[in-house]
């Protein structure tokens, strides 16, 4: 039996709303016990004194794009795993937007096998809703689930046909697989490249109105109610979307939504003079929208915060704004950027951590994301106030398109454990 005891940590467990001094006992990769108060008598095995640190469940990032298979120059499962471990992310959902698209059981199996062989953290494959992400024919949901897909998603794509969505939702409900959908009305978004408004007008860029999100969101929620599917709006960006979600949640407890850390911490002004690392989908919106998202998080309307980690090489980013690709990397900055909300007293620590641990686990039906006996020993040790500056060159991702370049952040992961094994330690290699 391998055993590990972490003593003197401030333990935060959103599942039990516990926030206090305690001891965490790990045996054979699983959590054996969480004991409040000072260290109990030694029970053998390694002991870590985490005085001054916070011990929390490892983060579960619900939206991560890698380049494997097909675009390994952008990111591999291995490099994404390094970035995740350094960012305190112990599990991530791998989006199916790869080459080929993950729309077949054999490909889900491939991702899982590659992850086991190369990746330090848990990889949870999302399978495509439609074959080739083409938005035309649904995939084999049952077989995909058997192969290990945790949810269905068309990744960056948004399905435009309401009829097809109805079919997909109905069939997904049949297998009780959650559907994670990126909501964009393609004809309203048009060739827009940033939030519609004065700022886009001044830059001479075409805008994307909030209605390109609110209208398909309202449609999806009605279809979710009709079909009984477990529905998760991948990411919302507009104040009105928070209102729409809040209203629907009062009627239907099977619908949830997420928000990208980018939309939660940045706004359209960050685009500055055509900075393409801030070209994102959904676009960064106004400060009023951002405030509404923070309020939605606090009120529990927004369930999940994710990184929307999307590695893009300089070739597709060093372009005129309208021609550049969307997306920014975020695995390594997710936690520290989210802690900004805590340091600024916009949200409390339990709320922020819950949205990156317990809630994703509940939505995806995972045993992790909590510090309960019997759960996998996926946890992190954090120094909440550790000051650091994001430097592109020091990122572990193969792509360096961070929207937090140069940002001064407070809070860093000191150590990350997956299945009781240390996969990252600040200033030293894993033990």
């Amino acid at each position: 039996m391998s055993a590990l005891t972490v003593i003197n940590a401030r333990i935060i467990d959103p599942a039990s709303n516990f926030d206090g001094l305690g001891t965490l006992r790990v045996e054979d990769g699983m959590i054996a016990a969480l004991t409040p108060g000072a260290a109990p008598a030694g029970a053998g095995g390694e002991v870590i004194d985490a005085r001054g640190l916070v011990l929390a469940p490892g983060l579960i990032d619900m939206r991560v794009f890698t380049g494997e298979p097909g675009r390994e120059y952008r990111e591999t499962l291995q490099s994404a795993g390094e970035a995740a471990a350094a960012g305190g992310v112990t599990s991530f959902v791998a989006m199916p937007d790869t080459l080929p698209v993950i729309d077949d059981g054999a490909l889900v199996d491939f991702v899982l096998r590659r992850a086991r062989a190369t990746c330090k953290v848990n990889v949870l494959p999302a399978a495509a809703i439609t074959k080739g992400l083409a938005g035309e024919e649904i995939t084999e949901f049952g077989l995909l689930k058997e192969s290990g897909a945790v949810c269905l998603s068309d990744g960056r794509r948004s399905i435009q046909s309401s009829g097809l969505l109805r079919s997909a939702f109905t069939y997904a409900a049949n297998f009780d697989l959650p559907v994670v959908h990126h909501v964009v009305d393609a004809s309203l978004a048009g060739d827009g490249v940033m939030n519609e408004g004065l700022f886009a007008t001044v830059l001479g860029l075409k805008g994307i109105p909030a209605e390109a999100e609110t209208i398909p969101l309202a449609r999806d929620l009605q279809l979710a109610a009709l079909t009984g599917v477990r529905y998760h709006a991948a990411q919302i960006s507009a104040a009105r979307s928070v209102d729409i979600m809040a209203a629907e949640k009062r009627r239907n407890d099977r619908v949830t939504c997420g928000v990208s850390i980018n939309n939660l911490s940045l706004n359209e002004n960050d685009v500055g003079s055509y900075r393409t690392f801030f070209k994102l989908s959904p676009p960064l919106r106004s400060e009023d929208d951002r405030r509404a998202l923070v309020d939605g998080l606090k009120a529990g309307v927004i369930d999940v915060i994710h990184s929307d980690h999307d590695p893009q090489d300089t070739e597709v980013k060093r372009q005129p704004f309208a021609e550049a690709s969307d997306g920014a990397v975020g695995l390594e900055t997710l936690l520290a950027a989210a802690l900004r909300l805590v340091h600024s007293d916009d949200a409390d620590l339990l709320t922020v951590l819950r949205a990156m641990t317990l809630r994703p686990a509940e939505i995806l039906g995972l045993p992790s994301g909590r510090l309960a006996a019997g759960a996998p020993a996926d946890f992190v040790l954090l120094d909440l106030d550790y000051p650091w500056q994001v430097k592109e060159a020091e990122l572990r991702s193969r792509s360096r398109n961070t929207s937090f370049e140069g940002a001064r952040l407070a809070g860093k992961v000191m150590a990350t454990f997956v299945g009781g094994r240390k996969v990252y330690g600040l200033g030293g290699e894993p033990a």
């Binding site: 408004g197 886009a200 001479g204 372009q319 005129p320 704004f321 309208a322």
Partner: protein, 331 residues
């Protein structure tokens, strides 16, 4: 006509004068980078350039030995010719490059082209590109000056400067005038640069367009916004028409050319609402019968050919400001 922009008491007429302060910018990427003083200085410099083009020997060799590259990713005969003539009258070696942007090469063209041209050691690159921000991006990749000759729907600074010079030549002032800009405001870099320049010079600006061609937030950029053209032209000193990209707008932004012309085309009846001495401008090329009645385009109140002439003077002034060596200080 021909009232000076220069403060009283300063000499002029012979181009660059030794006491002129250096232009404090390396590039001209947009009007947004200029303050009122910069604009005044460029207009004064441009005014001094006007006589050069009217004399028999049209040359002021301040840029001898300099290399100017006109890099046009979007075709534009008149703007390219204007920059070419401006450079040549100042004695620069001018090279024209037109780059076709096909969807295949689009991925690399801009940065690669910038690096390639930069290696040829030009002194200035004049750039036109269909994407907003493209000229600024290119300016970050080269070691020489860059002039924006139009980037998407963003800016076209020399157009706004030549428009201001034309207005000044006719009205003797800018401050206190009312300028109505009419047409496809949403997609117009000319409108944006003009609104920025005229705003900085305390000109009252109006924009006139159907709601489909008005971008969000325009009320923060113009003094007044009108959807009724007659009301918008009421009492205007200057009527500035914009080209309608009717092939692109038809069926979506406007139902038809004939409906557009009925409500937003400049004809004698609508122009009658402007001041009796109002001038009519157009950045060209015009769609006669779409946004403007041919009789007005070619009529006595049209200053459209003056704009073309002022364009050369303004571009000479911009090149001179960016490139000319500081005059030697007398010992």
């Amino acid at each position: 006509m021909a009232q000076s922009v220069r403060p009283a008491g300063t000499s002029g007429g012979s181009g660059r004068s030794p006491e002129r302060p250096p232009f404090p910018h390396r590039h001209l990427l947009g009007i947004s980078q200029l303050n009122q003083h910069d604009i005044m200085a460029l207009l004064a410099r441009a005014e001094a350039m006007i006589p050069i083009s009217r004399q028999p020997r049209k040359v002021l060799p301040t840029l001898t030995g300099k290399t100017q590259i006109n890099l046009f990713f979007e075709p534009s005969t008149r703007t390219q010719a204007s920059f070419e003539i401006a450079g040549k009258r100042l004695g620069a070696l001018v090279v024209n490059m037109s780059v076709k942007t096909s969807s295949v090469t689009k991925g690399e063209t801009l940065i690669d082209t910038a690096a390639t041209l930069n290696a040829m050691q030009p002194d200035v690159i004049i750039v036109r590109h269909s994407a907003a921000g493209a000229v600024e991006l290119l300016s970050q990749k080269v070691g020489c000056s860059v002039v924006n000759a139009g980037d998407g729907a963003h800016e076209h600074p020399t157009q706004a400067l030549l428009d201001a010079l034309t207005i000044h030549q006719h009205k003797g002032r800018l401050s206190g005038l009312t300028v109505a800009i009419c047409g496809d405001i949403a997609n117009s870099r000319v409108a944006r640069s003009n609104l920025l320049l005229l705003g900085a010079m305390h000109v009252r600006t109006r924009v006139i367009a159907p709601r489909t061609l008005l971008p969000r937030g325009i009320e923060h950029l113009a003094s007044e916004v009108f959807t009724d053209m007659q009301a918008g032209l009421d009492g205007a000193d200057v009527v500035m028409m914009l080209r309608l990209q009717h092939e692109r707008a038809s069926g979506r932004m406007i139902p038809s050319v004939r409906e557009y012309y009925r409500f937003y085309g400049l004809d004698a009846e609508k122009l009658a609402r402007a001041k009796p001495d109002a001038i009519v401008m157009h950045p060209g090329p015009m769609n006669r019968g779409v946004e403007i009645d041919p009789a007005i385009a070619d009529g006595g109140r049209s200053v459209i050919t003056d704009q073309v002439e002022m364009g050369v003077a303004v571009r000479m002034a911009v090149l001179d400001a960016l490139l000319a060596e500081p005059a030697p200080v007398a010992a």
